[in-house]
Amino acid sequence: MSDTPPRVPLRDIFRVFFTVGASSFGGGVTGWMHRITVGQKGWLTNEKFLAGLALGQVLPGANVSNMAVYIGQVLRGPLGAIVALGAVLTGPFFLVIAVATLYDEAIKIPFFHSAMDGIAAAAVGMVLRMGTMGALHGCRKAAPAVIAFGVFVAIGILQWPLAPVALVAAPLSVALAWPRGRRQGGLDA
């Protein structure tokens, strides 16, 4: 297929994923990735990003590294995936060891925990923004909206384990989204 997006230089992939990885305090990293790669750089569409995010969450591995591999692969194939993965992990690798070395001192810094809590809250803001954009794009009809809400309640509120919820919700959702030859007895029957 020839709908390939413009070739993104490996250097740019490295720069973006290194920055995101090294500054991903307090979670919400995928929100930041979404903001830069979809919103600011326009490297991939919202739909493509969300599909990758769902794949990355269903497959084993950290969301951050799986998203780096997925986006890198979309942009530049396996080489892009290797560069993005290496870039997103290099910063945290050294920083986590640095923090471990300095931890006993760091927790004595005034307001350290409050600053961390604030960073986490702001990072959640990015996650909320990503979820809202996704909902506006992909959940306008009844069936996807019900699926999204159901997954949210099962995982977020009831704290059911991910694997069984995903194994039920994903095939159901895909079946409902099938363009033609849909089986009878759907939700909108």
């Binding site: 084993p60 760091a106 997954v151």
Partner: protein
């Protein structure tokens, strides 16, 4: 395996990599059993400390394995543990992503893309809740998160760093003013 920590790290962590559906949190309990009880590389107290360090530092929570490797085998241990944790799952993701990419335009591909999006949206909001729960689940956290989301929506060019810094500043001010930290309900 006790004599060769690098081999031991690889043998123990690689299977966890392939089992870590949903990321680090799903393997922390069995990982603790393995490195604390079975191998006795670190104590339970050390494991908890390393866990919170991995949460404070940037990067995925699964970087906890990097710290375990570092404790067990220094820099070489850290590198081996990181590769053992991230490479197997990443290779699997790469293979799935490649197959997935090749069939663009097919019916099932379109259905997969449209069908996975709502699942992702549900997981995204669930993830937001879980981060808020870990950081105290307070009105202030909610207000700051929703406020940050609104500002980011209104100002698409704003660098995320500005937002993270503003969040840190807000909570430091809240602590000075005596509103933070609040005991979790």
């Amino acid at each position: 395996m006790r004599d060769n920590p690098l081999l031991g790290l690889t043998v123990i962590i690689v299977p966890f990599s392939l089992l870590s559906i949903g990321g680090g949190p799903s393997i922390f309990a069995p990982l603790q059993r393995e490195v604390v009880d079975v191998m006795q590389w670190i104590t339970a107290r050390e494991f908890i400390d390393l866990f919170s360090i991995a949460r404070v530092a940037p990067g995925p929570g699964a970087m906890l394995t990097t710290l375990i490797g570092w404790k067990v085998g220094g820099w070489a241990g850290a590198i081996v543990a990181t590769l053992a944790m991230f490479l197997p799952a990443s290779i699997l993701t790469l293979m799935v992503a490649r197959v997935y990419d090749r069939y663009r335009g097919r019916d099932w591909h379109t259905a997969l893309e449209a069908g996975l999006a709502p699942v992702a949206v549900g997981l995204i909001f669930a993830g937001a809740i879980s981060i808020i729960r870990l950081s105290g689940n307070s009105m202030l956290t909610w207000a700051a998160a929703v406020g940050a989301g609104a500002v980011l929506t209104l100002r698409p060019k704003l660098h995320p760093f500005v937002m993270l810094f503003a969040g840190a500043a807000l909570f430091v001010v809240a602590e000075i003013a005596g509103f933070w930290p609040i005991a979790a309900p």
